[in-house]
């Protein structure tokens, strides 16, 4: 999907789109300077109650990956699907994520990855329910 069609995000507050593609909404901790995802008022790393919202980088590198071959509990989207961890070097953060490539043999460590939308369900109005995913940047 392009991002301009009507859709619902699986959970409000996870992502935003200012017209230049999806971004994950993270937290930036004022005292420790580290970022986290999803956004929370309290820094999960140092415990400070002083964070502000930050749009995380849509670009990262592949740090770990596998494929989910059978629908996990509560999931009605397509299987198999890729699943892994992408490292956002600019944000010093690793993100648990769906991966657009479901064949583990097609991926390599450190491969550049880009944030995209991924359709996982349909809501009662027939609109796509979307979440975040990362796809190899070169494809």
């Amino acid at each position: 999907m392009s991002g301009t069609e009507a859709h619902t995000i699986v959970e409000p507050g996870l992502m935003r789109d200012d017209g230049d593609g999806p971004r994950l909404i993270g937290a930036m901790c004022v005292p420790c300077g580290e970022r986290s995802f999803p956004f929370a008022d309290t820094c999960p790393w140092c415990g400070a109650d002083a964070t502000h919202e930050v749009a995380l980088s849509p670009h990262g590198t592949l740090w770990a990956w596998t494929a989910v071959t059978a629908a996990p509990p509560g999931y009605s989207g397509p299987v198999p699907f890729g699943f892994g961890v992408v490292q956002l070097d600019d944000d010093r953060l690793r993100i648990v994520t769906r991966i657009s490539e479901a064949d583990p043999a097609m991926l390599t460590f450190g491969e550049p990855m880009t944030l995209v939308y991924d359709v996982v369900d349909e809501d009662e109005n027939g609109h796509d329910v979307v979440t975040w995913s990362f796809t190899p940047s070169t494809r």
Binding site: P73, S76, R98, D121
Partner: protein
């Protein structure tokens, strides 16, 4: 501090028992443990702690009511895969503090087949496909292989070892030997993990009677430690959505182990045997390093040397491990404690570790929670 020893143990086998309720399972284990401890009625113990994650409201009360053993405090304890060990920690601590003389600790579980649906995951994480528990295990396994020389063949070796041990355990769910070829021919659940490299959630119960005071002939509880995760590790059992770019954040297991070694006054090199969390084959290899049974990066060598097989220098999971027994969450940690107790008593039959005097039991799972229990005789 008062010494704590094990006055009796009772186990309901781990497996699938259609037509038997969770209360039936718990009652069988509790009845056996109390009988071994010479306890004939409710006056024989002062408190009960019960580990269970899926047992529902007042699971332990129902078991004790069945046996006419209510009256004292009865507390259900949930700490994921470490639930039974958490119950043991509370029971032992209460005795050491002088609150009680004798405590019943048990764990009981009756779990559905397949991937466990857990209230841990928010509905939106399920909808997004992120409640794929074995896939998190797979990512951890891939990183372990990436950071060491371990291969899929090593993962298969762990399964072969534990299933060979399990042949001699009549209380295990799987008692048939398997070959590495068969393990690698089972279907891929999440690369690199094949189906037979993953333990099965199942049903069972395990009960232990703890008593204060020294008893030179009994098995002693030398340490009973529970720890939770430190923040920042993207792949620890707390299954976060993000983590820091930092590879030196210890798993909950290592602080638990360090505290347990200190509490018991022993070192890893003193151990005669270990029962550890082999939820999947890679988890056992991670535990070798996290429990300091070997240096970082040396798990494969320990495995290849045969040190962790029955007859080796430090046998691991001679009960067959979770890979043979299956994992009834609330009961599994106490199943390990019962294995160690029988081994230290020299009563483990064909899987006896010769001359075992000091043993360690370890679990780690959702929370994250990690437990390390050390027993000696």
């Amino acid at each position: 501090m008062n010494d704590v020893h094990i006055a009796g143990v009772g186990l309901h086998p781990f497996g699938r028992f259609e037509g038997h309720s969770i209360t039936d399972l718990g009652a069988a284990a509790v009845h056996a443990a109390l009988a071994e401890a010479g306890i004939v009625d409710r006056r024989g113990f002062q408190a009960t702690f019960c580990g269970t994650a899926y047992g529902g409201v007042a699971a332990a009360h129902k078991v004790l009511a069945r046996l006419s053993l209510t009256g004292g405090p009865i507390v259900d304890v949930e700490a994921g895969c470490a639930s039974g060990a958490a119950a043991l920690m509370l029971g032992a601590a209460a005795i050491r503090a002088g609150q009680y003389d004798t405590v019943l600790v048990f764990g009981v579980e009756k779990m559905p087949k397949g991937i466990i649906r857990s209230s841990f995951f928010e509905p939106w994480r399920e909808q997004a496909g992120l409640a794929a528990t074995p896939a998190y295990f797979a990512l951890r396994a891939q990183r372990l292989m990436r950071e060491s020389s371990l291969t899929k063949a090593d993962l298969a070796t762990v399964v072969v070892k534990n299933r060979r041990h399990g042949m001699h355990n009549p209380d295990a769910m799987f008692r048939k030997e398997v070959t590495a070829e068969e393990v690698l021919a089972s279907r891929v659940v999440s690369e690199p993990l094949h189906l037979w490299m993953l333990c099965s959630p199942n049903e069972g119960a395990a009960a232990v009677v703890l008593r204060g005071g020294g008893n030179s002939n009994a098995v002693s509880v030398r340490a009973a430690v529970l720890r939770s995760h430190l923040p920042g590790n993207v792949l620890d059992e707390s299954t976060p959505l993000s983590g820091l770019v930092d590879d030196d954040i210890p798993s909950a297991t290592t602080p638990a182990a360090d505290a347990a070694y200190e509490e018991a006054g022993v070192e890893p090199g003193d151990l005669d045997m270990v029962e550890c969390q082999d939820t999947d084959a890679a988890r056992e290899l991670l535990a070798y390093e996290e429990l300091r049974l070997c240096s970082r990066g040396e798990a494969g060598k320990l495995l290849a040397d045969g040190a962790t097989a029955l007859g080796g220098r430090l046998p691991v999971n001679v009960s067959g491990g979770l890979l043979s027994k299956g994992e009834p969450l609330g009961a599994s940690a106490l199943g390990q404690v019962i294995e160690l107790t029988n081994q230290l008593r020299g009563a483990a039959g064909p899987r006896q570790v010769t001359g075992a005097r000091l043993g360690l039991a370890h679990t780690v799972g959702r929370g994250a929670n990690a437990s390390v229990t050390i027993l000696s005789r």
